[in-house]
């Protein structure tokens, strides 16, 4: 045993609670500790992932109760891949925000890192857990820290955004709880594997209602249209790195949850086409809304929503190819959208309204940031030879192989729209005259480093996608193999 | 071959003959005389049967026809047009005004004697000369051309300083390109 999945939940949670205490010893520790923790987890997750890819999933039982009675954590290729991705993004976000907004003072910084650690804990927990109620708990942890981070600036707008998030979040909790109750009342168990193995016995009506409630609840977190009203506000009002964390971590975790329910737990085949329908709706509405935005982060937020719609569509094909495409897309989206959020927040750092027009002519003052933003923009719209192309290609291939030509065409049309608004911004950065009262801020060294790491990844994956596709192939195979999951979990005897 | 004196004579004869029978006229319609040109050209008198024909630009023209009184202002343009014409070229003074000023002899802004400013080959007098007179003038010009005596252009070239002096005396603000043919 190289390590245990419990650490992924335990360590960041512990770190989150220790941060205020450590802050009393030495203020810098507040900033340093999360980094150390995340680095350790990064090493751990890569080790575990390597192990898992070779010798099958690790199922960890908590408190000595074997499944289906106790809570278990499953570190399989699929969940391991997502966990690694989240930890990596967490690390990048930490690196970026290490000296972000030095002027905010110690207290807010303390809260920020605390909430960030909790956010990561929650998200990782969602992915790792094998128990639906436990997942609910983790979703709540994620949500609460998310509300806090949204309101970080304690302004009027951020408070409003946070309130919207909170309100929809609580609806989500209610619905989720309701869904869990229905399922529990029918089967008497909360363990995913157990439910999955017994789901065919459930009355179809209950099954469907419970699934609908699950999707609705998780859809709120996963930004599915029309449940995603909170998202644009939250992204726009939260600090830039938090936007990256939302796009890269929280949403991924929620999508994971939906996918887990549809692919593993339930056996309703109609759910796949439903995924495609809502995914397409999300994609189209978000992208068309994005083109008319005048604030940079809001635009990125809509774009992020749209991408998640595309991920759901890709999952909705229900084929292994589709899953592969979706996972690849999630990876690329996490990297690229984070890069866009991180560099974008420096482009509009000192402006009050964060308007798109305020990025005019920024390349002269922030050459590297501008370049990275442009790189990200080119990559996210799927231009070769950047990372986004390969995932888009695999999505389209999957669509064609599933004979969904209509979906294929729509995705491509929407891509054109996406192209337009990204290019508009890039053109502004490079070819417009700088506005009078915009005061560019040079990024700090570690922020730059964080962005360059992401940019380099985009290029590496773009030129040589094989570095990562092997893992994704295994992860998608892992997700598709439902019986193996059930067997792996239920065969554990403590 | 051409240097030979006799053959030169023959060539000259043929050339002059062709010049005589092909007179392209640039009618500078200055004064009232311009009205006499149309009857001369059209069906009643039909100058074209003599080879006389209108030319559109000075580059193509052989004869510059000054039809009537010439104001100082116009003189400048007339000189310019004359200098733009290609050698050999002839000038016909048309009407009394070009000879001695005619009824405008004491006007402050017309010239009296065209010959002082441009080398006139043939004058046609009358006020106005009728088309018959115009045709007779052309006949006279043809005669002079055939005899090789219509050498106004050569005279102008040789006595350029005298002509220039006359011209400059009467035209204020002299800005004209050099004439150095």
């Amino acid at each position: 045993m190289v390590g245990t999945p419990v650490l992924f939940v335990a360590i960041p949670l512990l770190a989150a609670f220790l941060i205020p205490l450590l802050g009393m010893i030495w203020k810098e520790l507040v900033r340093i500790v999360p980094g150390l923790v995340l680095m350790y987890l990064m090493v751990l997750s890569i080790n575990l992932l390597n192990h898992v890819l070779v010798s099958g999933p690790i199922v960890e039982v908590i408190a000595g109760w074997a499944p289906p009675f106790g809570i278990n954590l499953v570190f399989s290729a699929f969940s391991g891949f997502l966990v690694t991705l989240m930890i990596f993004l967490g690390l990048v976000v930490w690196l970026y925000s290490y000296r972000f907004k030095r002027n905010v003072g110690f207290e807010p910084a303390k809260k920020y890192f605390l909430l960030l650690m909790m956010l990561i804990t929650g998200a990782v927990g969602i992915v790792l857990t094998g128990d639906i109620f436990n997942m609910f708990v983790f979703i709540e942890i994620t949500g609460i820290s998310g509300y806090g981070l949204t309101a970080f600036y304690t302004g009027r707008d951020s408070a409003e955004a946070s309130f919207k998030y909170l309100m929809l979040g609580s609806i989500a909790s209610t619905l989720l709880l309701l869904a869990i109750m229905i399922l529990y009342s029918q089967l008497g168990t909360l363990n995913m594997a157990e439910i999955a193995s017994k789901i065919h016995t459930v009355n179809p009506t209950y099954k469907v209602i419970s699934l609908i409630l699950f999707i609705s609840a998780l859809g709120i977190e996963a930004e599915i249209f029309p449940l995603n009203g909170w998202a644009p506000d939250a992204y726009a009002e939260a600090p830039g790195p938090v936007g990256a964390a939302f796009a890269g971590i929280v949403v991924k975790a929620s999508v994971y949850a939906i996918i887990r329910y549809i692919f593993t737990i339930f056996d309703i085949s109609g759910a796949y086409s439903f995924l495609i329908i809502i995914g397409m709706m999300t994609l189209i509405i978000a992208e068309t809304a994005a083109i008319r935005q005048d604030k940079l982060k809001r635009m990125l937020a809509y774009s992020s929503i749209g991408q998640m719609g595309l991920v759901l569509v890709a999952f909705g094909f229900g084929t292994e190819e589709g899953v592969f495409a979706a996972l690849f897309l999630m990876l690329n989206h996490a990297i690229i959208k984070s890069l866009l959020f991180l560099s974008g927040s420096y482009l509009v750092y000192n402006s009050k309204d964060k308007k798109i027009v305020e990025v005019n002519g920024m390349h002269k003052f922030l050459p590297i940031t501008s370049f990275l933003f442009a790189l990200g923009a080119f990559a996210i719209v799927g231009l070769p030879p950047f990372a986004g192309f390969w995932s888009k290609l695999s999505v389209l291939t999957a669509a064609a192989d599933s004979h969904m030509l209509f979906v294929l065409a729509l995705v491509l049309i929407v891509s054109v729209i996406e192209l337009v608004y990204y290019l508009r911004v890039v053109n502004r950065i490079y070819f417009f005259k700088k506005g009078e009262n915009v005061d560019p801020k040079k990024p700090t060294f570690n922020a730059l480093l964080a962005m360059i790491v992401l940019g380099a990844l985009i290029l590496v994956i773009g030129f040589y996608p094989d570095v990562i596709t092997g893992v994704i192939h295994k992860a998608s195979a892992d997700l598709m193999d439902k019986t193996k999951y059930i067997n792996d979990v239920l065969s554990i005897k403590q | 071959m051409v240097n030979d004196k006799h053959s030169q004579k023959i060539v000259d004869f043929i050339q002059n003959w062709s010049r005589k029978h092909s007179i392209w006229v640039l009618a500078y319609g200055t004064g009232c005389g311009a009205i006499e040109i149309p009857p001369t050209m059209t069906s009643r008198y039909d100058a074209e049967r003599l080879g006389v024909r209108g030319a559109a630009t000075p580059r193509q023209a052989d004869v510059l026809m000054i039809t009537g009184y010439l104001t100082v202002k116009t003189l400048k343009r007339v000189i310019r047009v004359y200098e733009q014409m290609q050698d050999p070229k002839y000038v016909i003074g048309f009407g009394s005004c070009t000879i001695n000023g005619g009824m405008y002899y004491d006007s402050y802004n017309t010239i009296n004697v065209l010959d002082k400013y441009l080398p006139v080959d043939v004058y046609i007098n009358g006020c106005m000369p009728r088309p018959e007179a115009v045709l007779s003038g052309f006949a006279q010009l043809q005669k002079r051309i055939a005899e090789g005596r219509a050498d106004g252009a050569t005279q102008y070239k040789e006595n350029l300083e005298w002509y220039r002096a006359n011209q400059k005396r009467i035209i204020p603000n002299w800005v004209m390109p050099e004439y150095n043919w």
């Binding site: - | 062709s18 010049r19 092909s22 059209t42 039909d46 074209e48 559109a56």
Partner: protein, 304 residues
Amino acid sequence: MEEVLYNILGAVVTFIVAFVVGMTYGGLTRKITARVQNRKGPPFYQNFIDAFKLASKKTAIHHGVMHLMGPAFLMVTSVMTLLIVPVLAGNNWFPNLNFHGDLIFLLYIMTFGPLGMALGAGQTGNPNSAIGVTRGLSQMVGFEIPWVMSLVALMIQYHTTSITGLMEVQAQSGTWLMLSSPFAFIAAVMAMFGMFRYSPFDIVGAPTELASGPVSENGGKFLFVMMSAGSVFTFAKLTLYVDLFMGGASNLVVLLIKTFLLYMIPVLYGVTSPRYRTEQAVRWFWGWPTFFGFLAIIQAVILK
């Protein structure tokens, strides 16, 4: 080698014949115009006198190298057209380069000169010249359409694009193409109005308005070469029409009669017509002539 020399000699003879005939036709046109206007008119050889006079002008100005080359460009077109068009079928003294080119080539070489000339006119810097050139080119776009339609109709009907091919067709069938393809002939003749630039299509060189347009800066020998080129070109074009539509000619007399009759169509139409503006002219060509061109093509497709 001997053959080449013989060809060159023949070409020179052809050129001289074309020059003489073209000039005479020009003189006759002036005479006819005069008679229509109830004048006596100049003698029919007046054009020769004019040409000789122009050639013997002592001076000539030019505005640069393109201006110098303009007349030569024009001459290339005329002579090349003359060489490509069979003047007399089967006569050794009028050799031609017909086997070297076909109708499409002819169409293009016929535009070579006007364009080169236009460049020369452009370099003079005279605004009138440039205006004349654009009018001329516009008009060319106008009349080329019915002209090409008529040619295409002939080509597709008889499956050949060469002039000799079309002449052979006429020789074999014994009927002239103007009788067997009347619409093509009508379209071509109407296009010819524009080609010869007589009234009502003479706005290109309108003497009083544009000061003779493209040639306004040319005098002396420039004008002489242009005039000769025009005459030769006239003859070449007439010969082309005769070859295409009237079965060609086996001796000079027949050729002269045929060309003269053909030539009278635009001349007589011209002397009785006022002048069109450019866009009117262009639209005129895209009206009835093009309609006849369509009819010609339809006929060709049906009879193919």
